[in-house]
């Protein structure tokens, strides 16, 4: 193998080619192969699964596998490559990962407890979270807010050692099943809208909390809820970070969530991908239609590229590189990619697809979660460019934060929140 040196000669850069055994052994070149089957770390994990063929949540958590990238005692301080091994071995053992069954708890809220929580909160809340006993939800959006999350109106008023919460949240995934959650509320109405926000950890069975599932256009109530707060008393000790940290913590959680959606699955990274679409079209012979064929090929290519983006994200972590722009860009590409996929799957069915009919295209026996049929995924798909920030907000974010284009004007951003609706601000 040949490598190269770069040498400065005056102002001109020349390349000189030559061999370097040392660098050759470092194997620093790109390598799209997965960790080997005989990797000793893999063998160790596989051995554990052999001894625990149907592990309980508690066993998984105690072995450090629920959030292996976390530091001890919660995790194994695993590097991303070990994380990949663990993910593969969970799949091999047919066990669903806690990060998949309780993503909000492990990936978003648990991580926030590590970063922003007190030691007391961690000791109390992390064990049941990692064992799967506590399912979490995030209570952010409000009916009046929508994309303008910072305009939220739910208020928490200090009263002795408690805060008293009043208001309403909406579009809350898993709120009907969660035992616990994080809520972002306004604790200071005299501060600008993004400044006066604070996050609390709340028990969902606290008095004054009412959860109402929302039926969406699929006819199901699988995804969204409304959550009403009427004089809900939460102890000040359940505050995450300190007063006013709410916006930053919320943005971190959403960014983590969006990054996790850079995957080729049809619905927010979950569900079947273009590989399954292509196989289904091949198996049914529908791939022979020249128009379907070209569309399916384009989607297959795009899906493979999304897969590469997600792997590159992981790889950058492994190699200690800063996170690239893939998190935002990936979701921007992935959501319409999923919509186009489900639409093609449905169109390949013709008029028969207009009847409730799960038998669109065959899928392999694999865990696709809720979206284990193209029919449901299709009728759900308009939500994928709305959830976790609309496609428009996402494009704005990419244009402003990644490309450095000027920010949109928000006349309400810098005035005290309780003055926003006064006429002079509205006119701005």
């Amino acid at each position: 193998m040949t490598i190269f040196f770069v040498r400065q000669v005056g102002k001109v850069v020349h390349l000189v080619y030559g061999k370097s055994k040392q660098l050759e052994e470092q194997d620093s070149v790109m390598d799209f192969n997965f960790p080997a089957q005989d990797d000793p770390r893999r063998i160790e994990i596989r051995e554990w699964f052999k001894n625990h063929p149907a592990p309980s949540g508690k066993q998984i958590a105690e072995r450090g596998l629920a959030a292996a990238n976390w530091p001890e005692p919660w995790g194994l301080s695993a590097d991303p490559e070990l994380m990949l091994i663990i993910e593969e071995e969970f799949a091999r053992a047919g066990v669903i990962m806690p990060a998949v069954s309780n993503p909000i708890g492990v990936n978003q809220c648990g991580q926030s407890l590590l970063t922003w929580g007190t030691e007391e909160m961690r000791q109390e809340l992390l064990p049941p979270t990692l064992s799967g006993e506590y399912l979490w939800c995030m209570l952010f959006s409000e009916p009046s807010g929508g994309s303008d999350l910072g305009a939220l109106r739910t208020i928490a008023r200090r009263d002795g050692d408690d805060f008293v919460i009043n208001g309403q949240k909406i579009w809350n995934s898993a709120a009907d099943r969660a035992q616990i959650g994080v809520v972002v509320v306004r604790t200071d109405s005299t501060a600008p809208k993004h400044k006066g926000l604070t996050q609390f950890v709340i028990d969902m069975n606290m008095p004054g909390i009412t959860v109402r599932p929302i039926a969406d256009m699929t006819g199901e109530e699988n995804e969204y809820n409304e959550v009403f707060f009427e004089d809900v008393r939460v102890p000040a000790s359940r505050m995450l970070g300190k007063e006013g940290d709410g916006w930053q913590i919320t943005m971190e959680q959403l960014q983590t969530e969006r990054q996790s959606m850079t995957k080729p699955g049809a619905v927010w990274g979950s569900g079947p991908s273009a590989r399954e679409l292509m196989n289904g079209l091949i198996q049914t012979g529908r791939i022979k239609d020249p128009l379907i064929r070209d569309e399916a090929a384009a989607l297959y290519v795009e899906g493979e590229l999304l897969r590469l983006l997600s792997m590159r994200h992981l790889s950058n972590k492994i190699n200690g590189k800063p996170a690239g722009i893939e998190g935002n860009v990936g979701k921007m590409v992935a959501s319409p990619h999923g919509q186009k996929m489900t639409d093609l799957a449905k169109r390949s069915q013709g008029v028969a697809g207009m009847v409730y009919n799960k038998d669109v295209l065959p899928l392999p026996p694999k865990h696709f979660g809720l979206f284990d049929n193209w029919d449901y995924a299709y009728w759900f798909s308009p939500a994928t460019t709305l959830g976790v920030g609309t496609q428009e907000i996402l494009k704005n974010t990419i244009a402003e934060r990644v490309l450095g284009l000027p920010r949109d004007v928000d006349p309400t951003a810098r005035v005290p929140f309780n003055e926003i609706n006064k006429p002079n601000v509205k006119a701005a």
Partner: protein
């Protein structure tokens, strides 16, 4: 030359609008599990029949109003705009089949009842795969004494459940003919059709007694298909406009970041594009209606173009409508999804827009040859 709607057309449209705005109430559909049967499908029909609409396209000679297709799309546009849940599609389809394929006596006997609002029809031609052409899955007709006996299945039959009589395409001695069957003689099973503003069924015939339509069978499907294209396209064009208007209104009211969301170019430009498509879809429908009214040689082309364009425009507009509304537009309790599903189903019921584009090119190839 006159490409403009006359005051008469506008008045007809306005009166249909007034009637339907008053009579159509979709709220009972905005509960999960709702079906069109519970939404006053039959009650609305009674009122529609009282307006004389069942006889709109039936010639005066048979007791109808003998209106032309431009008049028709004025009214269908309004039923499309309001998603009026009523079995009008089936009766129109069946009437056209009889007009094209019935003898004089059959037309007089059957269409008179329809025009009087006493008989509702449906038209059963698609097989279980959604094909409208003869195939393996054909209904078989056998002569038996003075009448005919039909055996087989039809699917995607709009308004079969509500109909009194169903016109069925079947194979008699290997050739496609059309038969009139009493609704009571067939088993109709409602499909879980995603567009719950419309009632669609599969139909099972097991030795059902049938009357043969005695006229020219070859003309029936082209005649009916062109008119059903027009009907769906008129619904879709009006629905496109309705979805646009709805989204524009919402974008003017909903505030984010200190401004109505309609002040943001991302929203404005998407809605401007839909406005362009709505305008084109409307023109396509009016032109197709005119060609059918005057029996223009390009009527088939015009109707096919209208259906391919308007149904895609409707799909785009209703998708964009939900995106402008945001998550609230994705809920069952809002009517946005009813339009989304009507749009999607309109784009499949008679074959996809691509299929119609194939028909367009085939027409032009024949014309060029």
């Amino acid at each position: 030359m006159n490409f403009s709607l006359s005051d008469d057309h506008e008045a007809l449209r306005a009166s249909a609008q007034n009637f339907l705005d008053k009579e159509v109430d979709l709220s009972s559909l905005l509960v999960p599990g709702a079906t069109v049967a519970k939404s006053g499908y039959d009650e609305l029909w009674e009122k529609i029949a009282g307006m004389g609409w069942p006889g709109l396209i039936i010639p005066e000679a048979y007791g109808g109003l003998g209106m032309d297709y431009i008049d028709l799309v004025m009214i269908i546009g309004e039923t499309g705009r309001t998603l009026a849940p009523a079995p009008l599609f089936g009766t129109l389809a069946g009437s056209w089949a009889i007009l094209a394929g019935g003898s004089e006596e059959q037309k007089a006997a059957l269409l008179g009842l329809v025009a009087a609002g006493e008989t509702k029809l449906a038209f059963a031609i698609a097989d279980s795969g959604g094909s409208y052409e003869p195939g393996a899955d054909e209904v078989i007709a056998n002569a038996s004494g003075g009448e005919y006996i039909l055996t087989g299945n039809r699917s995607f039959v709009v308004d079969a459940a509500a109909a009194d009589k169903i016109i069925v395409a079947a194979s008699l001695n290997g050739a496609r003919r059309y038969f009139v069957v009493d609704r009571a003689a067939v088993a109709a099973e409602l499909l879980e059709w995603r567009d719950i503003t419309r009632q669609v069924a599969s139909v099972r015939l097991e030795g059902a007694a049938a009357e043969l339509l005695e006229g020219d069978a070859a003309s029936v499907w082209p005649f009916v298909r062109n008119r059903l294209y027009l009907l769906l396209a008129a619904e879709s064009a009006a629905g496109t406009q309705a979805a646009l208007t709805d989204a524009v209104d919402y974008a003017k009211q909903r505030v984010a970041f200190g401004r109505p969301i309609g002040a943001f170019q991302a929203i404005k430009h998407q809605l401007a594009e839909i406005a362009g498509q709505a305008e084109c879809a409307g023109a396509a429908v009016q032109y197709a209606a005119w060609t059918l009214s005057v029996d223009d040689p390009r009527a088939t082309l015009a109707a096919t173009m209208a259906q391919s364009y308007a149904s895609e425009a409707y799909c785009n507009a209703t998708y964009r409508n939900i995106q402008v509304f945001g998550a609230i537009g994705f809920t069952w309790e809002m009517k946005n999804h009813l339009f989304y599903k009507r749009a999607r189903c309109n784009a499949e019921l008679l074959g996809s827009p691509r299929q119609q584009r194939e028909e367009v090119v085939s027409f032009l190839e024949r014309e060029a040859a």
